[in-house]
Symmetry: C2
Subunit: 397 residues, 2 copies
């Protein structure tokens, strides 16, 4: 079983290979069928594939029980109607956080079949997180009556960079106890299922172009503003991983050359001025108990002036960093996610102002900034999408 990055890289470096092409074409047929049953001729028109190719792929998918066919007529001629056996193949998403674990099971039609979120102790070790994930998944499968053999794979995200050369969690993770841990192999051994691992912001980005409203966007950035700040990139329609798998580290863009020391070892990083951790510190001054990110949302919605100012300053700083990002990769859409999503324009307005101030004019004018519509589920749903993107659908027994 290869990690996400490895399979992505091989598909992109060798785009003409038979297996990469077959998988791509299968995915296009499955995607076309998500809109409803189609005849083979309709599938050919919808995908641009030849009728012979469509017919071959339908046969393979039928043998794997992914689709079912029945005779029909179309314009008076005999035809074959093809429909998705949605529940014959499901994917599991697992989102590990600093204090939570979220598990979702969904089918090929992107319907959620089962879902649960549990709390984890702050500073938990990786094996504790994995044991909890196994328990939650087992009970979800039992409650929903899902056969383990129907699981195509497990897509999992963690709030930290993954070094794709080793498959381990790299330094800089919001979960420092997990650094150096090989989540891929441990999870595969424990679950006995194909596993795909990615950074949580990358999964958020994938989620926006699959589950979310941005399916037609080729170049999208998902920015997660939380205890850390990270971005996931969709470039030319695909998640982008770079040389060793560590991309979108905008939380460590330098904003203040001689600013606060950051957990990465540099100074004045975006995280030191705009993460929820920093907002909490600023707004808890003089209080007995520190406030929570939820309190920030409530206070802002109640128009507390200090909270609004802190959000405005943070948004401007994020916008400044995004201006530089947009100057570099010219995205069509930037989606903001994380625990402050409920703030809506209170957060987006300063982000947009910062972006327009720091981007070259043409880029400032053509970049859309939007709040994520997927809320706290963005990452875990991205895990499901990762499986559908990489699992070998037709070789599923």
């Amino acid at each position: 079983m290869v990690s996400t990055l490895r399979s992505t890289a091989s598909a992109s470096t060798n785009p003409g290979s038979q297996s990469a092409l077959r998988r791509l074409n299968e995915q296009r047929i499955v995607e076309a069928l998500m809109a409803g049953p189609s005849t083979q001729a309709e599938l050919s028109r919808a995908t641009g594939l030849s009728t012979a190719t469509v017919s071959n792929i339908v046969k393979v998918l039928q043998e794997a029980s992914i689709v079912a066919t029945e005779p029909t007529t179309s314009s008076g001629r005999r035809a074959l109607s093809v429909r998705l056996n949605s529940n014959s193949a499901v994917a599991v998403g697992i989102d590990f956080g600093r204090r939570h674990l979220r598990v979702v099971v969904a089918n090929l039609a992107y319907d959620i079949l089962a879902e649960e979120t549990v709390s984890l102790p702050l500073g938990h070790r990786a094996d504790v997180g994995i044991a909890a994930a196994v328990d939650v998944l087992d009970s979800l499968l039992e409650d929903a009556g899902i056969d383990r053999r129907d699981i195509l794979g497990v897509g999992t995200g963690i709030p930290g960079p993954i070094d794709h050369r080793t498959g381990t969690v790299a330094q800089g993770a919001i979960l420092p106890e997990w650094v150096g841990f090989n989540l891929l192999t441990h999870l595969e051994e424990t679950l006995g299922l194909p596993v795909f691992v990615d950074n949580d912001a990358n999964l958020g980005a994938l989620s926006e172009v699959t589950w979310g409203p941005h399916g037609s966007v080729e170049n999208l950035i998902f920015v997660k503003i939380g205890s850390g700040i990270g971005a996931g990139l969709i470039l030319n329609g695909q998640p982008f991983y770079g040389h060793v798998g560590v991309t979108g580290e905008i939380g460590h863009a330098t904003i203040a050359e001689h600013g606060l020391v950051c957990r990465c070892g540099n100074r004045g990083c975006l995280e030191t001025v705009a993460s929820t951790t920093t907002m909490v510190e600023l707004l808890s001054r003089g209080r007995q108990e520190p406030i929570t990110p939820d309190d920030i949302v409530h206070q802002a919605l109640a128009h507390d002036p200090a909270t609004l100012r802190v959000i405005d300053d943070a948004g401007l700083a994020v916008g400044r960093a995004l201006g530089n990002v947009a100057n570099l990769i010219n995205p069509e859409v930037i989606v903001v996610g994380g625990p402050l999503a409920e703030l809506g324009d209170l957060l987006l307005d300063p982000v947009r102002r910062g972006l327009r101030r720091h981007a070259v004019p043409l880029i400032g004018q053509t970049t859309t900034v939007a709040m994520s519509a997927l809320g706290a589920r963005a990452e875990v749903l991205g895990g499901v999408a990762l499986v559908f993107q990489h699992a070998d659908i037709s070789h599923h027994a």
Copy 2:
């Protein structure tokens, strides 16, 4: 005729389309043949394509006179040896600068057949530049005895962003007289040849992975430090263009929030602290005549302390911007080009220091910074490569 961006985008959004696949496979065969003549079986092994596919493509390329075949034996069996008719198809590169115009004609084996550089007056209009290019190309073709019908296309670069929605030169160009000009259509009409247009830094990047030593690098950034500062991106092995075609604008990364006003309308952009224009201003203070970029190189190589200090400060600022860039897209190699390339480590050392200071540790450690080996030819050679990448080789008459 489509612009570069459009053909790239269609290939990437529809990677399974028959025409995109055919062109890719043809390119792989042609690339394999650049190493020397091969049998069809060897081509199949070298490209991973089936022997049937290789045989079909060889037939098509032979009809277009791109390759020639002759019977041979291999391990005692009859086989067909295929070799490139290198000069049967050539490409033209044209590099427009503020004060120069450079034209190159090269064949499919990446041999330069003809080359000339001429001066243009500072502030020249676009039609003056085009007329000069037509004259230079005509005389090069005549002198080298190249038949116009053998030209696959013309790849041209200009120091400014191209808006791919309109094909025009966008605001922010180093050639302000060219803004709003549709170089693609004007050049196609004047030359009567297929034309591909791109930003000069993008062509520099393409050049490094084709003519240059970085052919195996999947993720590379080419940074041109000149009167402006711009970058070209190779991501997943292909030039990257983003949403409207304006990428790599790192010259406008904010370095000093309240710094000098930049020609883009923002303040404290990288260009205001690290372009050759700024270095010239700093080092010409108190002189009768301003110095030139060449003087900067000579003075630095002669260890003039003020020049070395200015280069060090500029390099650090470029490195800081590149640290943020590397945090975002995690390149394997960053290549520095432009008129200061002769400075070597005098410029690269501070760039590397700035990069390591501002990149997250894993990225700082895994990013190689190198000087371009292609010198002033990088952009024009990238124009040639652009043609070989996008022209329809087998449909060449």
